[in-house]
Assembly symmetry: C2
Homo-oligomer: 200 residues x 2
DNA sequence: AGAACTTACGAACACTCTGTATGAAAGTTA
DNA sequence: TAACTTTCATACAGAGTGTTCGTAAGTTCT
């Protein structure tokens, strides 16, 4: 028989996935502070007991949601970047920036990763987690650009931080604009110009 | 006689000032969410009744704190910028950036204006309030640079947004670094290079 | 397979915190 | 001095987080 016999790993995976998915939509649409744990578990179809068993607290769930969102958009950008390849790292940086801007137009994405995450996780924790995602991507591209002789050999961390800051703010600017297409072109022009300024 | 006779305006000004000062230190040191209204009124030497009479809610107090902090650092930067004057707007932009980085090293400043404000006020409200402060400053400098023929005639809003983003993130990067002086020099080098790239 | 054990979950409780309501005190106006 | 408004203090109601404790589901050992 064993009609509904699921292994423990399957159970945990299912409930965690349901909770993360629910948190993603709710946090993304209303912001972290405006969403109660009750709404989350209702959306996920579980109880608060399950939530607090799987995650330390509300912040823990948010961290999991954040990781998932970052994972998604970073993977998407990475594939775009990979198509251009190591032949033209700065070109890949431009292309990746555009993809990021387009993806970050999604309210859920920028509300979670750009607005709430720094306040909820704390800035340093936010950046520490970002290390493995967009940060690693940009630093990798910069190093490739150095190796390819496109930019001068120099420390990439400060540049990466400035770049991330410019990109994040640009994304929010585009997301808030009425004419998103025009806003995208405006900031892409500025960003490309800055990128070009680093070329040897 | 009239030992302690204060006018109504004086009373409101005093309690509001006390509340804003208390909120500034507490929000700045522990973050918005970690500070209860009870702690604030205790620090300010008033009761919660006074708080909720003077401000709509906790967010209202935070908004007042935010405005005050922005007011302070913007004024400081503006005087620095004014010393260089309209003769060299791009030079003034560089100088202003450095002052901003140094001031934003103060944990209270960046916790309030950069980490909590977007999440508490919402991004668009945050930016709307920022319009009259740092934003107006940068746009004014850019317009002056155009007038002085230092940069090409172009829309300044997208540039200002990218610049603000780069500056904000740079400030947080410096604030989190162990060797703040070295980190400052690193990002200043990057920022100055970017600024120069806009020169005609 | 059955017993002992561990993991996942459900329901109820305790606590904290925000915002409001109501009344008193201080100040203003006539 | 009296009527009125503003400022503040206290008490209360409601919402929400995290914990506790019991139960069910799954795993391991013999």
């Amino acid at each position: 028989m064993k009609v509904n016999r699921r292994t423990q790993a399957e159970r945990t995976a299912a409930t965690r996935a349901a909770l993360v998915a629910a948190g993603r939509t709710l946090f993304g649409n209303h912001g972290y502070a405006a969403v109660g744990t009750q709404s989350i578990v209702a959306e996920a179809g579980v109880t608060r007991g399950a939530l607090y068993h799987q995650f330390k607290d509300k912040q823990g769930l948010f961290a999991a949601v954040y990781d998932q969102v970052e994972q998604d958009i970073t993977a998407e950008i990475a594939t775009q970047v990979a198509q251009i390849g190591a032949s033209d790292p700065l070109g890949a940086l431009k292309a990746g920036s555009r993809v990021f801007l387009e993806r970050a137009t999604d309210p859920a994405v920028h509300q979670i990763t750009l607005v709430d995450a720094p306040a909820v996780l704390g800035w340093s924790e936010w950046r520490a987690r970002g290390e493995e995602f967009g940060f690693a991507l940009i630093e990798g591209i910069l190093l490739a650009a150095i190796a390819a002789g496109q930019i001068a050999d120099q420390p990439v961390r400060p540049i990466a931080h400035v770049a991330i800051g410019a990109l994040d703010e640009s994304a929010l600017y585009v997301a808030a604009a009425e004419d998103k297409a025009a806003a995208t072109e405006d900031v892409v022009a500025v960003l490309n110009r800055i990128i070009d300024s680093f070329a040897i």
